[in-house]
Structures are given as C-alpha cells and as structure tokens.
Amino acid sequence: MKKLFLRSGGQWLFLLLLLASRSAGPLYAQSSSDAAFLSTVGQLRTAEFDAKDKIIDQVAQTGHPSVRPVLTAFLEGRLYYRTQDQKIFLVKAGEEDSTTLDLIDPLTLKPAGSASSDSLTKIVTNNHLRRTLQTTLARYGLSSPDAAVRLDSVRDIERDLDESNVQLLRARSGVETDPRVKEEIAAGLALAALDGSDARARLAAVSTLRNSLRQDVLNKLQGLIEKSPDGTFAESDERVRDAAAAAVKSITRRRNFYSGIETLFFGLSLGSVLVLIATGLAITFGVMGVINMAHGELMMLGAYTTYVVQVAMPSHGEISILVAIPAAFLVAALVGILIERTVIRFLYGRPLETLLATFGVSLILQQLVRSIFTALNRSVVTPNWMSGTLQVNDALSITYNRLYIVIFTMMVFAALLVVLKRTRMGLEIRAVSQNRAMAKAMGIRSEWVDAMTFGLGSGIAGIAGVALSQLTNVNPSLGQSYIIDSFLVVVFGGVGNLWGAMTGGMSMGIVNELLEPYAGAVLAKIFVLIALILFIQIRPRGLFPPTGRASENQ
C-alpha cells in the first residue's frame, strides 16, 4: 500500500513538475538543464582520464543542444576553462596556437570576448578519450546531410557495436539513400549479426560479408573457423563454418592481389624518386663526363628554396610548392653554372681532380646553408591536396604525395626529352657531347653549351630537391644521403642515356620494394648493391651502353 502510494506520489510529482515547467515557460526548464549540463561538463576540469570517459557519456545523455559542439571542441582540443573563475569556454577553431584566444560561450555558442592563453587552462584529452568522443559524436554524424560524414560515422560506430549502436544503424539503414553508406551499414549490421544466436541470420551475414575486402571482417570470419584447444569451434553451425571458410579464402585471395599491386606502386614511387635524383646527374655525368659530387647539395638547395618560398608566401601555403618548382630550378641552375664557370671548366678531362674539387664545393655549400639556416631541420608543410590517401578500395590505398611524385617525375622526364630532342639548345648539347671538335667547327660555342648543360642538370637536381622536401628532412646534409643512390642509378642505366636512368631507377626501386618485406631494409639494399656489382661485371657499360661512334669518345 505504501509502495503504491509512493509510486503514485512519484507520478504526481512528475505531473506537477511537468505542469510547473509548462506554466513557467520553457525558460525555467532550459536554465535548469543548462545548469545540469554545465556542471557535468565542469567535472571534466579536475577528473582523472579514467573518469572523464564516464563524464562524456553523462554529457551526451543530458540531450542539451550544445552537446555536439562542446564534445567536438573537446575532441579537437578547444575546450578550456578560465583559471580565475573556473568558467568553461570553447575556443574558436584554428586559433589554438595564438596567444590571445577568441572565446565562445558553451551554452549560447555566441562569441564571449577573448582572453590571453595564459589565463586559460586546456582540458586535455588522450587517445582513449578521443576514441570515445569520436564514437559518441558519430551518432550525431549519422544524420549529417554529407554522405562522406555519414560514411565516417558508420565506420566509427562499427568499432563499438553494442545494442544501442546496432539499433541506430538499423534505423539509419531504412532511410539511407547513398549506396556506399548503405553498404557500409549492411556490413556493420552483418558483423553484429555474427554474434547473434540465430544460425540462419549468421549464414546470411557471412554471405553479405564475403564480398568485403576489409581486414577486420577477415579477422572476424577467421575467428569463426578457428578451432580452440578443446576441439570445439567458436561457431557451432557447420554450414556457417563452411561459408565462412569459403569467404576467408576469397577475401584473402583478393587482398593478396591488391597487396601485390600496392608493392608494385611502392616500387614505382621509390623508383621515380631515384629517377628524379638521377636524371640531373645523367646529364652532367652522362653527357658531360663530369663527376659532380656536389649534385646532392644542389638538390639540398632546391629543398631549401622550397622552404624559403613557403616562408615568403605564408598566406598561400597550398600553392607555394608550385611556385617553388621554377624557383628551385633557377637557384640550382645558377649555382650549377657558377660552379662550372669557376671550378669545373678548368678541370675538364681530369676526372679525379673534378671529383675532389666538387667534393670540396659540396662541403662549402653545406656549411654555407648551415651558417644561414642553422643545422636544424626546416619544416616544409605538405599542402592539403598532397596529403592523405586515395582509397581505391578497402584493401588498396595509395598516398597522394607518392602518386604526385610519380606523375611529377614523368612530367619532368618528358619535358627534358623535349628540350634535348626538339630545341636548338638540346641539339647543341647533343652535338658537343658527341664530337666537340666537329661541333666547334660548325660554329657552336662549346664553352657556352657546357655551362648551359651543367646548368640544366643542376636545375633538374633543384627540382628533385622540391620533391624530396615532401618526403624527408630539409637539413644541410639532405644531399649526402642521396648522392650515392643517384650515381648507382646512372651507372646501372648506362652512362649518358636518359632512358637508361629511367629504366635503371624504376627497376632498382621495384626490386628493392619486393625484397624489403622478406629481407628487411638493410639487407634489401645490400642485395641490390651486390646484384648491381655482378651486373656491372657482365655489362660494364650499364643497361643501355652508348653505341656507334659516340662510344669511342667515352
């Protein structure tokens, strides 16, 4: 009786509250839930990382309209509190690094003045919390108008397939229109169904999943057919096991195919870097016969030019690299011509002296750069259009920066061929390299051609430097790590042959990448070197030796 009374009393209280809130207007209800929301968020200030996890859940459950922006800000490290009065603020996106921060009120989401970063304390997250936040926020993302956001949200939710999330997905799958999102939801639901008790549903789930390429799906299916030590299977139904085994086989086969393609692409991309650094050398070493040990430093100058251009145009970060390409070509070409005019031209025909002199030049250039820019690494920002991956499918992704470098190498190579084969300068370069005396007799200024050829080779090195700035450290010793590789490619490809440099670089890249997973990076490199030495024994003049009369001059 008492119990009943209490219960009905509770109901009465509830009704009363409802009435009160109705009569007092939305203002009252709003301000009370505002206070509750703020106090829940406020707990984040002092809580340990473990406790923050639960607080996030509580914040999400308040259902306050600010939940999403506040949690997003927390995820992005933009949730602060004022040290003086402990009041919570959001900070405007993109300003986290500056000394004065523009504040946003967490309730109204309107600007709330600004404050110096010293007077604010950031509420820090860690990896685990960010994962929780992502999954929590993904529930909101499911109804986003942007299909890409919905797809990401489904993927985030799939990491944590509890009952409520499965419900969410199921609800979404009814109204979803985008085919890719739909497919992803189906996969997610199938993954959840594998844990269900209905054997027929599990069988259906396996057949939905057999077209997937995802590693987590593969792991899950493999788990089904694994035999535990006591002889029982994780999956009790034999038909489901058979279907899973077939699916595992099919997924593995297709994944292996794509991983082969991926390795090939790795090889091509490493190869194109090698080609890029070796083409310049193929001109100076191959065509002119000059052993230029400062070739690497010319690349380094190209990389530093990229850095300087980037600093000079801070508001155009996305395109500064495009400006850097001609700039690096010019800087490196001018330095190259300077080296040729002041050092190398006195040493033609004396390879050993040239080697020593250019080695000296390389040290001078390094120290010069070290004195100007210090020995510290300079950070060259990767523009947004060059970062990220091209997701071909779940098993194959290609990184954009590598893709662009492959394309870029092809373009540089094509342009160089056009210059050498189709222009007057190219004709003169080829004439002088084939027969200097005859070319002179025909009225070609061979000295000028020498300078231009060296400038061209150096300029290409500068362009290679732009590409390297995207892949590795920009510091004074950047060139040293690439000089040996570029000589190897030129020697392997055949001295004086651009196509040789191309084939040589690409095949070295691919062989290296094929060997690396089995032999490790160090051994793979050693194998490539040994193979190269053996190859030179058989064909001392490389893949494409110079033929005909030109070979007699070499």
Binding site: L376, S379, N473, V522
Partner: protein
Amino acid sequence: MELDTKKEDDLKYKKLCIAGVLLAFGMALCGLAKAQQDTIKVGILHSLSGTMAISETTLKDTDLMMIDEQNKKGGLLGKKLEAVVVDPASNWPLFAEKAQELLEKDKVAVVFGCWTSVSRKSVLPVFEKDDGLLFYPVQYEGEESSKNVIYTGAAPNQQAIPAVEYLMNEVGVKRWVLEGTDYVYPRTTNKILEAFLLAKGVKPEDISINYTPFGYSDWQARVAAIKKFGSAGKKTAVVSTINGDANVPFYKELGNEKISAEDIPVMAFSVGEEELSGMDTKPLVGHLAAWNYFESINTPANKMFINQWHTFIKNPKRTTNDPMEASYIGFNLWVKAVQKAGTTDVEKVLAALPGLETPNLTGSMAKVLPNHHITKPVFIGEIRGDGQFDVVWKSPTTVPGEAWSRYLPSDKDIVADWVTLKCGNYNKATKTCSGQNYK
C-alpha cells in the same frame, strides 16, 4: 745591382716580419698562460657539424648559457669558468681524439658532451686513462657504469620500461611493433623491452622487431607492414627507437596512410620538442613520447629556464628539450660537487658527487646515485598540434636510474656501485668485478 739591394731589403723586411709575428705569438702564449691561472676550464664536446649537429649544437649552447650564468654569479671557487669548445664533427674516432685534446692539452676540469652511444663508447677509454670527468646528458641503453662518467640522461628503466608499462596498462596494448634505427641504442633497448614483454606474458608472435638504416626515408613498405600487423584485431602500438632524422619521413608516411594515434599509437624515445619543430605536426597529434622533461610542464623553475634560454639564444621560438634539462642538471651537480669538495680535482669531485641533490626543472630533486646515474621523474606526453606535448601520465615519484637491467638474464646479477663496491659491473653471484670491460 739595384735589383739585388731590393731583394736584400725584402729579405730584411721578411725577417722583421717573422720576428714580429714570433714575438706576438710569444706574448699571446704568455697571456694564455696567465689567463689559465685565473679560470677553471670546462670542456664542451658536442658535434657542431655533420649529422648530429642538429641535436648537439643546442646542448653546446645550453652549456655555454650555464657557464655564462655561473660567471655572472661570481664564478666558482672565486675563479671564472672558461668554456673550451671543440667540434668532433659527428665522427666517432674524432670524439676520442678531441677528448684527449681536452684532457691532456687544455687540461679541462670537466667535460660536458657526447650524444650517441657510439660516441660515448669511443671516448670512454680516454676518460678512464686520463682520469677525466664526463657528464653525459642523453637517454641511453644502459649496461654501463664508468667511474669517470655521470649519466644524467635516462637509463632504460627511467624511460623505456615505464613507457611500455603505460601502453600495456593504460592503453591496453596487446601487440607490439618495436621499430628502431640500426645501431646500439635501439638494439639494446629492444633487447631489454622484448625480455620485459615476454616476462609479462606477451606471446612471441605478438612482437615484431624491425630495424632500418640511419636517415631512412622510404617508409611506405614499413608503414604498410605495421598497418597490416596492427589490423589483427588486437590493440597494437609501435615503440619507436627511430633516430632523429628518420622520424620526419616516418611520421609523414603515418599521417599520409591515415594511421591515427587512436588506431596505432607510436611511443617514441627520441622525439622531443626540438625534433618536432622541424616537422609539420598536424598529422602527428596524439602520438606519444616518453621523457623526463617536457617544455610544457608548468613549474616556476622551468619558466625561468625557458626565459633564460630565449634571452641567451636571442630567439623566442627556440624550444627546450629533455637532454637540455639533463645538461642543466649535470652542470648544477658538478658546481655543487666542486663547492663541496673545495677543488676541481677529479678524484675529489667524484667522491663528492654520490648523494648530492639538485632541483630539476619539473619540481622534484635529481640525486646522484652510487651507480653514477640520477633519480628522474618519468612523463608520458601526447603530441599537440603546436609541436608541444600534453602530459598524460607521470610517475608517482622519481625513479632511480639502473645501469644494468633486471629483465636481461645476462645482467640481472650485475650491480654498479662506486661508493662501497668501487665497481661498475659487480657480479653478485660470482662476487667478481670485471673491471672496465663491460662486455
């Protein structure tokens, strides 16, 4: 005839010149000798050129700043400190030569120097032969304790082991990639970590160890392999002992492959604020590093140190880092030891050192232990977008450095004690000291 007299005149002039130069030289030498009496010479042995210049130049500047600061306070024992800076040029044998030069020619009272373990191993015999004193300020692989060296950087139990324990307990990592550069520090550290993980019940197939050469830049295949290893359904982490230079392309590739810290966190032992200042840090947010100091730690001592550094280096954007703090601690310990001993004589300073305490920059005390290592707090930080770290874990107390790891079967009976046992590698089981032969 006229020509001849001119020649003679020239000759006279030349002789005069030579005499003048000799005189000047002699006077300069006298001046030097005189100056020598009024100053205490402090040797600085850090590479200022070559591959290690990037890291070591900063430590040279830190040492110079500390010396400057001490001189402003009136010097030491009433004498001014005088820095003798040499450049071993990232060349390991040259380290030994330059160390010999400092100890035998310049007769320095103390040397602050070295970064890589190979450079330390190279100078070790010189310091032991000439009885010098070296303060070594970088985290290292342990398995060493020399009478003549004070190790102010972290031993494995002050960095690597707590970091792996954090990943195991707080992050719940079950699968481990130990990725390192191919040289002595990563190899020894990974040997210790592997023994530790196996002892904690991690299965051998859940550990993948891989080494790449110095300055390695083609990370695409390795990162793809890590991605694959990490997608086996168990939480995976990378423990990275990749040396400075190779880190930039490694993290770039991770960022490009969209491996976020939430998927596969990377715990690095050689990436600090200085390395990050040369990187585009946006894709790295959330990856981890374990150190005994972070610039972002808010203590009055640290604030003062950062201000002092910015004034000295005349660049408000320069960062501070862990080896700088270790240099700071090392210098202050030496000053205290000299004041305690009342002399710069190496034997007496070495006797005064064990037990000495000096505050570090993060609010606790660094105490010299009998094994010539010091006590240090351990911090784990997550990389922020601005290239600094957010501390996500700190050790409850300072951790005493252990020269010999208890997790390696070959080391577990060995202790270092320069106070009572007077030995750097005393075997408790056989009760013998193998002298200076560490291996």
